[in-house]
């Protein structure tokens, strides 16, 4: 599905992938546990993995991951963006409005905006 949306050549999977992939560290309640330093240390592996792909956008499957990976990008300085799958699909379909782009970077914020006049 992602490949269809972004084009085969623009999709780079992480290594290791699928069930062998590494947890980002946002789950299991870690985000609310108060152990911030340990949480960021846990996420170091995920950050390195994402950076090794060289991709500018990381797609997260859930909110915990989204929040944690967002923080990892800022904390370790990777600068990659994190988006939900639905954002990507609506962007590809040309139906993503100006107010639904909170997590897109500057490179995509103005691309194929649906009803730009409705910007808040």
């Amino acid at each position: 599905m992602v490949k269809t949306a972004v084009g085969e050549e623009n999709f780079i999977d992480m290594q290791p992938n699928r069930s062998n992939n590494y947890c980002c560290g946002g789950g299991g309640g870690f985000l609310q546990s108060g152990f911030k330093a340990q949480r960021l240390e846990f996420g170091r592996l995920k950050d390195e993995q994402i950076r090794a792909t060289g991709a500018q956008y990381c797609i997260a499957g859930c909110h915990n991951c989204h929040a944690q990976i967002h923080e990892l990008s800022e904390h370790y300085g990777g600068g990659y963006h994190v988006i939900h799958l639905w954002t990507l699909l609506c962007l590809a379909l040309g139906i993503l409005g100006p107010n639904e782009r909170a997590y897109l970077g500057d490179d995509l914020r103005e691309v194929a905006v649906f009803h730009p006049e409705s910007a808040k």
Binding site: Y22, G27, G28, L89
Partner: protein, 243 residues
């Protein structure tokens, strides 16, 4: 390195791990460890608090109950299950970790997780941010009306709550309705274009379940059951978990 010699007590007593084995299907395979270390080598929590999954399991197997029940490491294992996936014996370390969490006195468990669980117990939404069913309905209806008008191609888009007989029951992470409502819309659009017959529930719409993370069995069950009952009462066929 640990300098003191660990002496194993003379009198045989039931260890914490043995108790956990009794309640897990096939004992969680907890006593089959080959100490190969595959779990620890791919666990992102390895090294935190001086522990890793193999070490934690060894301590449990040796009956070092006091130590395993005292360490904060159990709140740093995210229960991601990667260790089970790579383990040749399919040992369920995360379930052991879960049961250790559950053995902590509730008031000693991390305040943030406990607070999110308690919020979810406040009303039927089961939202970790404490949003009420009325607030949720207001936000959804408000955002829907706004988008129907601003983007006429979606004038017929719906975002129903408690629609009886809908095929899909959808839950929703609280972060969107509470802090960034526009982020709910892309998924609504996709469901609309796909022609999906779906609904939220006024009860149990909160997708997150911090009571599970807290190790609070009864509250975890309450939250899951509230959502499942609502889906059932509405006659929905598929529960779509967006979390």
């Amino acid at each position: 390195m640990e300098e003191t010699v660990i002496r194993l007590g003379g009198k045989r007593r039931t260890t914490f791990m043995e108790k956990v084995r009794e309640i897990l299907p096939e004992g969680g395979h907890l006593n089959l460890c080959l100490t190969c270390g595959a779990c620890s080598s791919g666990c992102p929590a390895t090294g935190l608090e001086g522990l890793d999954p193999r070490k934690f399991l060894r301590m449990a197997a040796l009956g070092l109950d006091e130590e395993i029940l005292a360490t904060d490491w159990v709140w740093m294992c995210t229960q991601c299950q990667r260790c089970i996936y790579v383990c040749p014996m399919k040992i369920d370390i995360p379930r052991l970790v879960y049961n250790v969490r559950a053995a902590w006195p509730r008031e000693k468990r991390p305040k943030g997780i406990r607070g999110s669980c308690d919020m979810a117990l406040r009303n039927d939404s089961c939202s970790a941010m404490g949003a009420s069913p009325e607030d949720f309905r207001f936000v959804v209806e408000d955002v829907l009306a706004e988008y129907r008008e601003a983007q006429p191609e979606f004038a017929a888009m719906e975002a129903p709550i408690d629609k009886a007989g809908a095929e899909f029951f959808l839950n929703q992470n609280s972060r969107e309705p509470v802090t960034e409502p526009d982020e709910m819309v892309p998924l609504w659009k996709l469901l609309h274009l796909a022609g999906a017959d779906w609904t939220y529930g006024s009860k149990g719409w909160g997708g997150e379940n911090y009571c599970m993370f807290l190790g609070d069995d009864a509250a975890w069950k309450h939250i899951t059951a509230t959502a499942a009952r609502q889906a059932e009462e509405l006659g929905c066929k598929v529960f779509l978990n967006t979390e």
